[in-house]
């Protein structure tokens, strides 16, 4: 896959970014890629909870420790693919979810952020060169924050997740022009949780809406995922791509993965 580092970002919270990032990482690993999946949302970490049932031992090193110079890049990765049927490996890097760690991150100075962005580049380089990682998925904090910009800067492709809510669309337009275009980053938009009441049953209907969105946002739309109530209500510790691979939500993400593997968003 040409896109080695993919940042999953959104202009606002609640778009389903983490759910998408988690299952996309799992799908790529199930297809045979060695995937590093990192939680770069230091102000509101969630992957420690998502993978709590798949990590037996206490976490020795958090991503925070790497950025604070306390460990090597390889020491933060935890292999969660052993318990699941995956052709490749899924290795996760968790952000420390304790209040003390979050406070510590918020207190960091701009000088620390300079080091952080350089360390992120060094970490990704170590993953690809020394650890046989094929693809790195970065789950970011929403909006414009240091950690999310660092993720976007260091990625080959950014996928910005949005709903069709007018506030989401407007703020997505802003970050597309003021962040991604400003940084000359390859970007694709993924629409999530669109209402099934929109009756976009046929492919033709979806294609018309996709074209309209692409025209309005001036960026390609990589996928359109309807709102599935059972997905929203499911326990967040369940890995849908593994447990229910034929679920329509996962099927839609499979289509996104197909497009990523064909690299059509990077040419």
């Amino acid at each position: 896959m040409k896109a080695k580092t993919i940042a999953i970002h959104s202009s606002r919270g609640g778009t389903g970014k983490t759910l998408i990032a988690t299952n996309l990482a799992a799908i790529l690993a199930m297809r045979g890629s060695n995937v590093a999946f990192l939680d770069l949302d230091f102000s509101s970490p969630s992957l420690a909870t998502v993978f709590s049932k798949k990590v037996d031992d206490p976490v020795l090193y958090w991503l925070n420790d790497f950025f604070n110079g306390k460990c090597r890049p390889d020491q933060i990765l935890i292999d969660v693919s052993e318990k699941t049927d995956m052709k490749g490996r899924l290795l996760i890097g968790l952000a420390n979810p304790t209040v003390a760690a979050i406070q510590n991150t918020i207190k960091k100075s701009r000088a620390w952020e300079v080091t952080a962005v350089k360390k992120l580049f060094a970490m990704l380089s170590a993953f690809f060169k020394e650890m046989d990682i094929d693809c790195c998925i970065l789950d970011t904090s929403p909006g414009i924050q240091f950690s999310s910009i660092n993720a976007v800067v260091s990625s080959d492709l950014s996928i910005t997740v949005t709903t069709l809510d007018s506030l989401d669309i407007e703020s997505t337009k802003i970050i597309l022009s003021d962040l991604y275009d400003a940084l000359s980053k390859k970007t694709a938009v993924l629409v999530n949780k669109f209402s099934t009441e929109m009756k976009l049953q046929s492919n033709e209907d979806q294609n018309i809406l996709t074209s309209k969105l692409e025209e309005m946002l001036k960026h390609p739309v990589i996928g359109m995922i309807p709102c599935y109530c059972d997905v929203l209500q499911a326990e967040r510790t369940s890995l849908l791509a593994v447990e229910k691979p034929s679920h329509p939500f996962i099927r839609k993400l499979e289509e996104v993965a197909d497009k990523l593997e064909k690299s059509q968003y990077l040419t």
Binding site: N68, A111, E113, K118, A122, F146, I149, V153, S154, A182
Partner: protein, 128 residues
């Protein structure tokens, strides 16, 4: 003959004089600019001021300078040629861009043998 008459044409002589004076003014402006840039560099060097080149700052930099910085995030340190290979722009463009960032206080440069390396000054590691 016609050429000789041109040489004595008062309008032409006046024009040549004017051009000569414009040339002199341009030369002095160029020298003044060079002196100002050096002075600016020296003031920043002596003051010890550090301008943090974090990713948020990237967004407010002009696009041409932003590309150079993004290449240096990846390279850690590099000559104008190294940066140009990363950005796929001309070496001269990267040299001008990197030197401007040095003058703005965002980059540092050091000579190693015959090469000049540009780099983002390492920030102090903060302890938890």
């Amino acid at each position: 003959m016609e050429r000789d008459s041109l040489k004595t044409d008062p309008a032409l002589i006046s024009l040549i004089n004017e051009i000569g004076q414009i040339n002199k003014k341009l030369d002095s402006l160029f020298l003044l600019n060079q002196r100002m840039l050096k002075a600016q560099e020296e003031v920043i060097r002596r003051s010890g001021l550090k301008f943090e080149l974090d990713s948020m700052t990237l967004l407010v930099l002009p696009a041409s300078l932003r590309k150079t910085v993004m290449a240096l995030y990846k390279l850690e340190k590099g000559t104008a040629k190294d940066i140009a290979e990363e950005t796929r722009r001309l070496r001269a463009v990267e040299s001008a861009s990197a030197n401007q960032l040095v003058r703005m206080g965002y980059l540092k440069k050091k000579r190693e043998g015959r090469d000049v390396y540009f780099y983002i000054e390492p920030a102090l590691e903060l302890k938890e």
